[in-house]
Amino acid sequence: SQQGEEDPQALSIQEGENATMNCSYKTSINNLQWYRQNSGRGLVHLILIRSNEREKHSGRLRVTLDTSKKSSSLLITASRAADTASYFCASNDYKLSFGAGTTVTVRA
């Protein structure tokens, strides 16, 4: 069963705009991770946030975590066409449980 659920399911933005997607999860976690998947490719790890952290940055990515609401958000700033992909949150124990993903399309 899937632990996380991303929202929205799909997002279309103009190049240069920011993209925000959310993830809600069900059980308590040690960490939460975000992955990117380009069409027809494997998953690439983007960022990991631990349960005792509230916010984390990596380049143009900003992740927040609210354990009281069991939710996380991923913000991509100044989006580029290359950011077009599906984004997944994943958590749980060693066997990661993924949500269904948010498909992001960045229009040139």
Binding site: G42, L43, Y94, A100
Partner: protein, 115 residues
């Protein structure tokens, strides 16, 4: 190797046929995972190996699915008597440390289509 390698990239099978999917993890990685990703969905855990030991096979959907990693490196996922519902992308991932969900490296997957 430079990354996790999976073969074949694409596999078309007739219903009832047996298939074998191969995963070459990053050299020295202790942990190896198999995931199944249906179209439009996120990956779902199938099974986990720590070296050659299959420590968790709770995600395998039926006894038609079998995985092995006999020498603690290359792994094979075998599906017997394939059914249409087995059509999916099968992803392999490896990590250096045991029993961790951190620093997983994924292969590009094998897309299985059962006709």
């Amino acid at each position: 190797g430079a990354g996790v390698s999976q073969s074949p990239r694409y596999k078309v099978a007739k219903r009832g046929q047996d298939v074998a999917l191969r995963c070459d993890p990053i050299s020295g990685h202790v942990s190896l995972f198999w995931y199944q990703q249906a179209l439009g969905q996120g990956p779902e855990f199938l099974t986990y190996f720590q070296n050659e030991a299959q420590l968790d096979k709770s995600g395998l959907p039926s006894d038609r699915f079998f995985a092995e990693r006999p020498e603690g490196s290359v792994s094979t996922l075998k599906i017997q008597r394939t059914q249409q519902e087995d059509s999916a992308v099968y992803l392999c991932a490896s990590s250096l440390e045991p029993a961790t969900n951190e620093k997983l490296f994924f292969g590009s997957g094998t897309q299985l289509s059962v006709l």
